[in-house]
């Protein structure tokens, strides 16, 4: 086998894996923002999803109450529920109480950061690993040289994440629900006049966003890294929010941004592995620098939902 062939294939494969949490979280955030809610608490929701999902798997595997596949699905379910509840809370704060979304999101983030760490220290203590989602291999497909390694050696959640991209695009662009989301985010008065409940749509999207953020966290703690530790996400939720801006609120472009970002990340890890003479700090820094540059260019062609961050008040 040739050395550089292995490297490129494994870098691409790990880029795909690393993109999973970003795709989940950023797609969820796309729904919320298209309806006019800026949810900045994504990272906190990811942390809570990551911890509770991990803990559900940890407990059920340790006590042997559930078989391995069932315990993993149970973990996913718990992460979805916890993320959804936090999304619901965020919706209550920003839709019903009309709180400033930027700051309240930071509050939700701090809450998730603190609570996940608190529960982790109290219930688990030190980082322990679980056996997470196994890699799935497909007959024939996985054996294709290079391509098989890049595309067909991943765990279930990776495929779910990528499947969600066309599904999200379809829901947003081709369904009545998607039309309502876009209407509420673009022109809430008109949507209201047409009989669409602005509040209900925003509650729905923010809750969906929370669920996907929870799932994003779980994809780290029970599929990618298979353990939980303090501040596991290290700000990935904020990157996901940036990716939504970068992708211009369109699912395909958002996912492409996630791929680009995680590819840079995978390269960065690779640089460390093969010991290139670049200080590792600069390699770690690179994705963030690129995100800022990407935001500079993304803002030039901005088609931001008009009502983003603006609470809706009915004119009497």
């Amino acid at each position: 086998m040739e050395l550089d062939a292995i490297f490129t294939a494994s870098v691409f494969a790990s880029a795909i894996r690393l993109a999973t949490p970003y795709i989940f979280a950023a797609l969820g955030e796309t729904f919320a923002q298209r309806s006019g809610v800026l949810n900045l608490g994504v990272d906190g929701m990811m942390l809570m999803g990551a911890f509770t999902g991990f803990y559900a798997v940890f407990i059920t595997q340790q006590e042997g109450t559930l078989s391995e596949p069932l315990s993993l699905l149970f973990g996913v379910l718990i992460a979805l529920i916890v993320g959804g509840l936090m999304g619901l809370a965020m919706a209550f704060v920003s839709v019903t109480l009309k709180a400033k979304q930027g700051i309240s999101g930071i509050g939700v983030y701090l809450f998730g950061l603190g609570l996940s760490e608190l529960l982790f220290q109290q219930w688990v203590g030190t980082p322990k690993s679980v056996s997470g989602f196994p890699r799935i291999t497909f007959p024939y497909l996985s054996d294709i040289p290079v391509l098989g390694q890049i595309f067909f050696h991943h765990n279930l959640l990776v495929y779910v994440a990528f499947a969600l991209v066309p599904i999200s695009a379809f829901v947003l662009n081709r369904t009545t629900f998607g039309l309502m989301i876009r209407a509420v985010g673009q022109n809430p008065e008109a949507a209201d006049a047409m009989g669409v409940s602005v509040a209900r749509v925003r509650y729905a999207t923010t809750t969906i966003g929370g669920m996907l953020a929870g799932l994003a966290g779980a994809s780290l703690s029970i599929a990618l890294i298979n353990l939980f530790q303090q501040n596991l996400t290290a700000g990935q939720g904020f990157i996901a929010v940036a990716l939504v801006y970068f992708g211009g609120w369109r699912p395909w472009a958002v996912a492409a941004g996630a791929m680009l970002f995680s590819f840079v990340n995978a390269l960065q890890l690779q640089i460390k592995v093969i010991g290139l003479d670049i200080p590792s700090e600069f390699a770690v820094m690179a994705p963030y620098v690129i995100t800022i540059i990407a935001l500079v260019f993304a803002s030039k062609r901005q088609e931001q939902p008009t009502a983003l961050t603006k609470p809706y008040e009915r004119g009497e």
């Binding site: 906190g44 700000g235 803002s299």
Partner: protein, 389 residues
């Protein structure tokens, strides 16, 4: 504010009960740990100092309609610049004929370091303001990215040219050399009792500097035309630009000042407390999350620099008290991070009630209108409720 606090404490009590801890015991332990003894009070004030600096800066930014989440990165930028200046100037020899004036030289070293720290933080914050003003980059996102970049920059410098020569090769915790005494901020004690109050604690002059600056910034924001312009832009960008205010410049300026205060928080932490810059490599390794806690203190202080003083003392006390609670009841101190988050949510959520009350009188809002309108171009759009209200 009080309602938000009570609600947050209620939720915290539920959490404590869920963790099998008696909330009353927990709060008693926290009070004991935060204010029980002379040293406890001093530690509370020591923790409050960087929070107050950041809180003053956040107040300016939020008043100017800029959501600055970059306190962490700006602290690091300030600390890096400040410690570099202090290390270089600290090496210089005072000419023998001027040895009498040693005190003045020490003052110069400290002043230069503080100014350097302020400027570095200010430029780092101003960068986010610049990107917002001219490229419409959401400042929340850019400051968060800049935080991560600053941490890596710090790790790079502390492992490289700033590394303590004595530590080279050993390299357990990356840190700079210790500052010479001349470059340190003096300890602070009050001439009460014998020995003087706080004489045997880590309390330092940073606290006094922060309090004085809080008063100055209050005057600046409410009694000068420059401060008025910042607030005007925060209240209504469109009206401000019609009134002839250069909105872009004010956006950058408020971020510049906000970053500067966070930079001061960083450099004061080095000069007054640690006497060297060191990190465990994690984002909060140096700042102790003061960049985030400053946001909480600023909101809790009603976005008023004077109000930020008691708010910072309160959150300093929470942090110190939580450590005592962790030791005595075994409840992890990270409870406080969660409580801080709740306080933020409750404070911004309660604005609807304040708003409704004030709408009945004159429509004067508690916080600027543009807060929260993250990446938009608020200047060219009316919010949907403006026309109908």
């Amino acid at each position: 504010m009080i309602v938000a606090l009570v609600l947050a404490l209620l939720v915290a009590s539920v959490l404590l009960l869920a963790l099998n801890a008696n909330p009353l015991e927990a709060y008693a332990a926290m009070w004991e740990g935060a204010a029980g003894k002379e040293n406890a009070t001093a530690e509370t004030l020591v923790k409050a100092t960087p929070i107050l600096f950041v809180g003053i800066g956040i107040t300016i930014a939020f008043r100017g309609g800029m959501i600055n989440i970059g306190g962490e990165g700006q602290m690091i930028a300030g600390a890096l610049a400040g410690v570099t200046i202090a290390l270089i100037l600290g090496e210089m020899r005072v000419p023998p004929e001027l040895a009498k004036e040693k005190g003045a030289f020490d003052l110069i070293i400290v002043t230069c370091s503080l100014i350097g720290g302020f400027l570095a933080g200010a430029l780092y914050g101003g960068l986010a303001g610049f990107l917002k003003a001219y490229f419409d980059v959401n400042e929340i996102l850019s400051t968060i990215m800049l935080n991560q970049i600053a941490v890596q920059m710090m790790n790079f410098l502390l492992n490289g040219i700033l590394l303590d020569p004595a530590e080279a090769g050993v390299n357990n915790i990356p840190k700079t050399a210790r500052l010479v005494t001349a470059a340190q901020l003096p300890r602070l004690s009050l001439p009460i009792g014998d020995p003087h109050l706080f004489a045997r604690t880590r309390l330092h002059w940073g606290l006094i500097i922060a309090i004085v600056l809080a008063v100055i910034i209050y005057i600046f924001l409410w009694r000068t035309s420059l401060g008025y312009r910042i607030r005007a832009v925060g209240e209504n960008q469109r009206a401000s630009s019609y009134a002839g205010i250069n909105v872009k410049r004010q956006m950058m300026f408020s971020m510049f000042l906000a970053g500067g205060f966070a930079g001061l928080a960083g450099v004061v932490q080095v000069l007054g407390l640690q006497y060297r810059l060191q990190t465990d490599g994690s984002p909060a390794g140096f700042t102790g999350a003061a960049g985030f806690n400053g946001i909480v203190a600023a909101l809790f202080g009603g976005l008023n620099p004077i109000g930020a003083i008691p708010a910072a003392a309160f959150f300093g006390g929470l942090l110190v008290g939580a450590q005592k609670m962790q030791r005595e009841l075994g409840v992890p101190a990270s409870l406080i991070t969660a409580v801080n988050g709740l306080i933020v949510v409750f404070v911004v959520s309660s604005e609807i009630f304040i708003l409704q009350r004030s709408k009945r009188r004159v429509s004067l809002q508690e916080t600027p209108d543009n807060l929260g309108s993250g990446g938009g171009k608020p200047a060219d759009r009316a919010s949907p409720d403006e026309g109908s209200g």
